[in-house]
């Protein structure tokens, strides 16, 4: 059963084609990784799949909903956006409470306490979000996406700004989610993390999917790692020093 189905998806910004005829399918229970160079179209694709942006053409169904119904998609899934920008004038605790209220969740205090504990944010709970460090803000964005325990998660560079302790803690949590049968779609540049977590990956280059499959399927030779696969598929191996 598919959690995400995209067929012949295209998107242009003015004269620039950002996504070109993209088709992909993510099954329930998969940990799916999307890689690409800077500006390849990863974030645009994630924003379309989560109903944050409309496509010019193509069909998308996310968590069983068409992207013409973005509110239902956002209610069912959890999204960690690229930018760590929680509400400026709310405290850390209030930011999470707002997430719960906007999602009509019960047991708000219990949920908020659980997640503040998970990321060791209790002592910052009454500090305005604008005054938190980048890492603390990122933890709030993650928490806000996890707080309703969605069956499908979208993560855009979710590990950025986290120190190794919390990267490890987050990796463990994400693994446990997949073991429970939940689905994760992750865009990242950190290939070491992706290699440890993803069951299937796709490489996007200049708006097109240039490779898709399990890491084993994408290997052209024994022992090739994800970085080598990525560089080979985007045909950019001739990097040189400045």
């Amino acid at each position: 059963m598919s959690s995400i189905e995209a067929t012949h998806l295209s998107k242009r910004f003015g004269n620039l084609t950002v996504l070109n005829n993209i088709s992909l399918n993510v099954s329930k229970g998969e940990f799916f990784g999307l890689f690409g160079s800077n500006g390849a179209g990863k974030t645009t694709l994630l924003r379309i799949l989560t109903g944050q942006l409309s496509a010019d053409s193509g069909e998308v169904r996310t968590a069983g909903y068409s992207i013409s119904d973005p509110i239902s998609i956002k209610r069912s899934v959890g999204i960690v956006p690229e930018a760590e920008s929680p509400p400026t004038f709310l405290t850390a605790r209030e930011a999470l409470e707002l997430s719960c209220l906007l999602r009509n969740l019960n047991n708000v205090n219990e949920r908020v306490d659980r997640w503040l504990d998970f990321f060791d944010l209790q002592e910052k709970s009454d500090v305005l979000c604008r005054d938190l460090s980048k890492g603390q803000r990122q933890k709030l964005m993650l928490t806000s996406a996890f707080i309703h325990e969605p069956s499908l998660l979208f993560l855009d560079e979710a590990f950025i700004n986290l120190d190794p302790i919390y990267q490890r803690r987050l990796r463990g949590y994400l693994k446990s989610l997949v073991e429970e049968g939940r689905t994760i779609f992750m865009c990242t540049h950190i290939l070491e993390i992706a290699e440890k977590l993803c069951s299937r990956v796709a490489v996007i280059d200049k708006g097109s999917i240039v490779a898709q499959g399990s890491i084993d399927e994408l290997r052209s030779q024994e022992g090739e790692d994800l970085e080598e696969i990525f560089i080979r598929t985007v045909k950019n191996e001739n990097a040189h020093l400045p």
Binding site: P70, K74, F89, L102, R103
Partner: protein, 490 residues
């Protein structure tokens, strides 16, 4: 020594490009060009009716009004200190501007802010004062003003703008050092204004130096004005801090408590609670209510202008004042839309229309009491107690209608979309005819009571019905929009 090295010139050029591109990205090329065109038309119209005004207002009063308006305009624009602080402390979310350069490049905040001041001076010179001079020039042959006279007027008005911008820059930069310094700077400005009027202890031309030129035509005043502008810009820049410590501000967690108290609002209550906290914690509550009150007082000024400026002694009744109330709420709604970048809401299960509705609830909470007090006070002062109930109804209808039109057309980006051609034309077509209908009705009220009552009642009803339609259509128009600071597709 080179005063203006190449790198600074390049930064100035880049900042000017950034400003024009920002405008274009928000309101489109046509919209960007429309604002100076509006200034051109308005000043041409004002210049054309100057002979009529001159019959009742002497030249020095007209000059005073123009220069004070320029000073206030500059003051409104020049809060660069707090803007710089917001950029440096990431409060504007993903909005990055060249002002942020000192964070990663070997250039000081002071220098970047000084260049920013120069950029804004040039931008508003081209965007406002050149069209103003052209507007007056085009009707100059009909009103008997020389080209040299127009140029001098443009220069002194622009210098008043620069001084206003400089004063605002210094006050806001002082505020970033210490709230007390900032408050003292603002108190000094207000005290000086009070010494000029109503206390009449200081002559306005000795406070507003460009105005003094028109008293004795001495070049010393424009020269002193230029020196003062540069001095204020330099002081503002020097007051800027080079590093911004992000202090950890703590507050009692109040969202759930406020949310619980707002049951009557229904599903919007979490957003209304959020908006309320943002308004109070950002320090925008007083400016929003104070600004709205000042706008209402501007209506009294308009009536004064008619009585003494245009020499058309119309005894405006309280219903007239109440019909204008809605129009004055546009800026208040606009200020509510610029407190927070709501980027994080893009991933939440709600549309932009829900946040717009929450802002409208806050708008009515803030303004209803002030509006009612204003209408009742004017009614009592004018001895028109019998008109107060009718006036309150008219004020409510126009207030709801104008803010509904504003919210429908501009959503969360009132401040920027109002510079767009399409928006301003639609707003004018939707708001001016019904308001004019009501205002004409209020003028006819003492003479043709039946007709006037019908005009006022029908236009007010139209306003209510149209508002209800606009509120319903908010969802269709805005639910697919992004919360981020990007073009709405207008």
């Amino acid at each position: 020594m080179r005063i203006f090295p190449d790198i600074d010139k390049q930064l100035l050029i880049d900042m000017i490009k950034e400003e024009f591109r920002l405008h274009r990205s928000l309101v489109g090329g046509l919209g960007s060009a429309f604002f100076p065109f509006i200034i051109f038309l308005m000043t041409a119209t004002c210049a054309f009716i100057t002979p009529l005004i001159a019959r009742n207002l002497n030249q020095s009063t007209m000059l005073l009004m123009l220069h004070v308006a320029s000073l206030i305009y500059g003051f409104y624009i020049g809060g660069f200190g707090s803007m710089g602080e917001q950029i440096m402390t990431r409060r504007l979310g993903q909005v990055n501007m060249l002002l942020k350069l000192p964070q990663i490049y070997p250039i000081s905040v002071k220098k970047v802010m000084a260049i920013f001041f120069i950029k804004d001076s040039l931008f508003y010179l081209v965007y406002t004062y050149v069209p103003m001079i052209l507007g007056i020039s085009i009707v100059a042959p009909y009103v008997g003003v020389t080209a040299f006279g127009i140029l001098r007027l443009g220069v002194t008005a622009f210098l008043a703008f620069m001084i206003g911008m400089g004063l605002s820059f210094v006050s806001s930069a002082a505020s970033t050092r210490s709230r007390i310094f900032g408050a003292l700077a603002y108190i000094f400005i207000i005290a000086t204004a009070l010494l000029v009027y109503p206390l009449n202890i200081l002559q306005p031309q000795y406070v507003l130096l460009p105005l003094a030129y028109w008293a004795d035509r001495s070049l010393i005043w424009p020269i002193l004005s230029v020196i003062l502008s540069i001095g204020l810009a330099a002081t503002g820049s020097l007051l800027m801090k080079e590093s911004y410590e992000i202090k950890q501000t703590k507050f009692n967690n109040s969202l759930l408590k406020i949310n619980a108290r707002l049951k009557v609002i229904g599903e919007l209550r979490p957003l209304v609670a959020k908006e309320w906290l943002e308004l109070t914690r950002s320090g925008n509550m007083l400016p929003a209510v104070g600004g709205y009150t000042l706008n209402l007082l501007a209506i009294v000024f308009i009536s004064w202008l008619f009585d003494y400026g245009f020499g058309i002694p119309i005894n405006f009744n309280v219903v007239f004042f109440s019909a204008f109330v809605g129009f004055m709420g546009v800026m208040t709604y606009s200020s509510l839309t610029s407190i927070e970048n709501n980027e994080y809401l893009n991933v939440m299960p709600l549309g932009v229309d829900s946040l717009i509705k929450a802002k409208l609830v806050i708008y009515f909470i803030l303004t209803s009491g002030v509006t009612a007090g204003y209408v009742i006070l004017i009614g009592l002062l004018k001895g028109e107690v019998y008109l107060i109930p009718q006036s309150l109804l008219v004020a409510a209808c126009t207030s709801i209608y104008v803010v509904a039109v504003t919210a429908y057309l501009t959503g969360l980006w009132t401040n920027t979309l109002f510079f767009g051609a399409k928006t301003i034309i639609k707003f004018t077509l939707m708001v001016i005819p019904p308001l004019t209908f009501i205002e004409v009705g209020t003028i006819l009220l003492p003479f043709k009571t039946g007709l006037a009552t019908w005009m006022i009642a029908s236009a007010s009803m139209f306003g209510l019905v149209a508002s209800s339609l606009l509120f319903t259509r908010l969802k269709k128009r805005w639910s697919d929009a992004s919360f981020s600071l990007v073009s709405s597709g207008e």
